[in-house]
């Protein structure tokens, strides 16, 4: 899952980026409102964490502009000014969730995961498909035979993206966009390698290849 982190404090942003990456997110940082608005309109992001006190353009305005432009990117608002009237204004502007600073990183992660599930119309809790389940905290897969398989970072990101977008045709470049951040070196051929790894784990028929189009993840086989 690719995440846009709009936060102007560089220490906080750097720390958060590390935590979020560790939790399996590809993270890009925007340190002002104008960049945040521009980046958020790119179709590569799955979720945004938006600080309201951004320089150049206020977070509420960024959010309003996104929504006005028909951009439904799930947004968690972060703010130090967490008065209730601001909270109400934030939700009215189109926020999906709201977190007052300072927060526990665990709470942010839980809310991110919940929001992603909600926007993909998946139930809260573990992501389950057929006879296996993905543990997002442990970044591991439990299979039908009770086997417990730890995933690598990219494997986890890829599988989570597949699970949250099951039934859709996903091109290789799309998968690359949502699994890597701006700073990573991208090679779409690598995706094939990871897909092969996941097929070994979950069974061939789960991930179907559409020649010239990409892959489809099947909920049921």
């Amino acid at each position: 899952m690719r995440l846009l982190l709009a936060e102007d404090d560089k220490y906080l942003a750097a720390g958060l980026k590390k935590d979020l990456q560790a939790a399996g997110y590809a993270v890009d940082i925007a340190d002002n409102g104008v960049d945040a608005e521009y980046l958020g309109n790119e179709p590569i992001y799955d979720i945004a964490v938006l600080d309201l006190g951004l320089p150049q353009r206020n977070g509420i305005d960024v959010l309003k502009n996104w929504r006005k432009a028909g951009n439904h990117l799930p947004v968690i608002v972060l703010t130090a000014r967490d008065a209730w009237h601001e909270r109400v204004d934030g939700f009215r502007a189109g926020a999906d969730d709201y977190l007052g600073k300072p927060f526990h990183i665990e709470e942010l992660l839980a809310r991110l995961s919940a929001l992603l599930h909600r926007s993909s119309q998946k139930p809260a809790g573990e992501l389950k498909v057929g006879d296996f389940a993905l543990d997002e905290q442990q970044q591991s897969v439990t299979t039908a035979d009770g086997g417990h398989h730890q995933l690598t970072g990219i494997e986890f990101r890829l599988l989570r993206y597949f699970l949250l977008n099951s039934g859709h045709v996903l091109s290789k470049s799309q998968l690359t966009d949502h699994v890597y951040d701006l700073d990573s070196e991208k090679d779409s051929n690598v995706i094939e390698v990871y897909v092969r790894r996941l097929r070994q784990l979950l069974g061939k028929e789960r991930i179907e290849t559409r020649r010239g189009q990409g892959y489809i993840f099947r909920d049921s086989v």
Binding site: Y11, L12, D19, A80, W84, H85, F91, I105, A124
Partner: protein
């Protein structure tokens, strides 16, 4: 002391009108009597001349009256016209007097007196007595005329006069009331606008008012602007301060997790940071309260509460909690918008945190505004209820469960001189928070 300009003006005007009309009525009725008396007297004077011409003395000094030259009216009994003529011991009475007599005054030659006396048949007589010297003999002539017929006419005239004047007076009073009302209407309008201002329905007073009160209105508007700006400025500064404090604290808390030290040391550091956050939050939120200082924004139970409930629904998307509103029709809120959002936000948030499925907010207003928030959660043990109320007054209490949000709610209620109490919800079974806020006396 309560003054009503309108009642003072109208009683003053009414009294002065009444006095003017009463004076006029008295003057007219007195004067008209004088005038008629004078008129009758001048007629009597004229008749005296005629009578004098009919008088003569013979050679033996006997007074003779030529009956031919006397008006018939003096011969009809009790006609209302009488005379008495005397000269020394001789006296002549008019036949109209019949067997009655009137007081006759002997007057010296060239003198004249006028008097009113009662005559026969309850007549009221004006008597003019004149003294002459005829052929060397002194003669006194008293002529009398009944004033009753003319007085009846006068009385009738006065009745008509008073009736018409009374009518005019009534019309004038009505006119005055109308004029007063219309000239005091701007004041009524200002009063109405002040009430609306108090309820936050308008932001400024209409300055289209008479010149006399325009300076007051302008001054008030100026003051409203200044106070609104001051509140906004202080809130903005507090908001910036909150921002300034919390940003570094957030960084600190994130960083503490990565410090290479004992787990227990990290916990202590996190706890301390949390403590600073909690206390500064509480102090800043308390300082942000507008209280009764002027703000043009009032909380609306229609729009603002709906937005708040929508917000809570989005904050707890997976909890499936139903928030029921029981709001009396046309409830006005004495609390500023941001303060009320803070108060209800904290109460409802607390209720949502503990509720299983249902939260209810009831609002009613009679003399005071009653708000209660209930949930169907586990509630609080009776012995802890006391502590909940108490926690609201202290800053250094540790937060557990219901604590922080309710503490801020208590601060808000205090600021508005209201009361907050905690109880078990009889219908839903969880915690019930009751709030009573005084409404401005109108």
């Amino acid at each position: 002391m309560m003054h009503s300009l309108e009642s003072r003006l109208s009683t003053g005007l009414l009294l002065s009108l009444l006095i003017a009309f009463a004076l006029l009525a008295v003057l007219v009725s007195v004067n008209i009597r004088y005038v008629t008396d004078d008129y009758v007297a001048s007629r009597l004077q004229h008749d005296t001349g005629t009578l004098l011409a009919a008088l003569s003395f013979d050679n033996e000094g006997r007074l003779l009256l030529d009956a031919q030259r006397i008006d018939q009216v003096y011969n009809q009994p009790f006609s209302g016209h009488y005379f008495v003529i005397s000269s020394g011991t001789q006296t002549h009475y008019s036949r109209s007097l019949w067997d009655q007599r009137i007081a006759h005054i002997v007057v010296a030659g060239g003198q004249q007196t006028r008097a009113i006396q009662s005559g026969p048949q309850q007549q009221s007589l004006l008597v003019l007595s004149s003294g002459y010297t005829l052929q060397g003999y002194p003669v006194s002539i008293s002529l009398a005329e009944d004033l009753n017929p003319i007085r009846q006419d006068i009385d009738q005239f006065i009745y008509v006069f008073i009736f018409i004047a009374g009518g005019i007076l009534l019309v004038l009073i009505v006119l005055q009331v109308l004029i007063l009302r219309s000239s005091l209407r701007p004041l009524q309008q200002v009063k109405h606008q002040l009430a609306q201002l108090e309820q936050g329905k308008i932001k400024r007073l209409d300055s289209d008012v008479p010149a006399e009160i325009e300076p007051v209105i302008n001054e008030l508007n100026q003051l409203l602007t200044v106070m609104g700006q001051r509140l906004q400025r202080s809130r903005d500064s507090l908001s910036d301060l909150a921002h300034a404090i919390k940003k570094p604290l957030t960084v600190m808390r994130q960083t503490i997790r990565r410090i290479d030290t004992a787990e227990s040391d990290r916990d202590i550091l996190v706890e301390q940071v949390d403590e600073i956050v909690r206390l500064s939050d509480r102090i800043l939120k308390r300082a942000r309260l507008a209280g009764h200082s002027h703000s043009d924004k009032r909380f609306s139970f229609d729009t603002d509460l709906a937005a708040l409930i929508e917000t809570l629904a989005m904050m707890y998307p997976d909890r499936n909690i139903q928030i029921e509103k029981r709001i009396d029709h046309d409830v006005s809120c004495p609390v500023e918008r941001e303060d009320m959002l803070e108060l209800l936000g904290n109460l409802l948030d607390n209720a949502c945190k503990w509720a299983q499925h249902k939260v209810r907010i009831s609002v009613s207003s009679e003399q005071q505004l009653h708000i209660s928030v209930e949930d169907d959660g586990p509630g609080t043990a009776p012995e802890k209820m006391q502590a909940l109320s108490y926690r609201g007054r202290r800053l250094d209490e540790t937060v557990e469960g219901h604590g922080f949000g309710l503490a801020i709610a208590s601060d808000t209620v205090d600021e508005y001189q209201g009361q907050i109490s905690f109880d078990k919800s009889t219908e839903l079974g969880g915690l019930k928070v009751d709030i009573v806020l005084p409404l401005k006396q109108k």
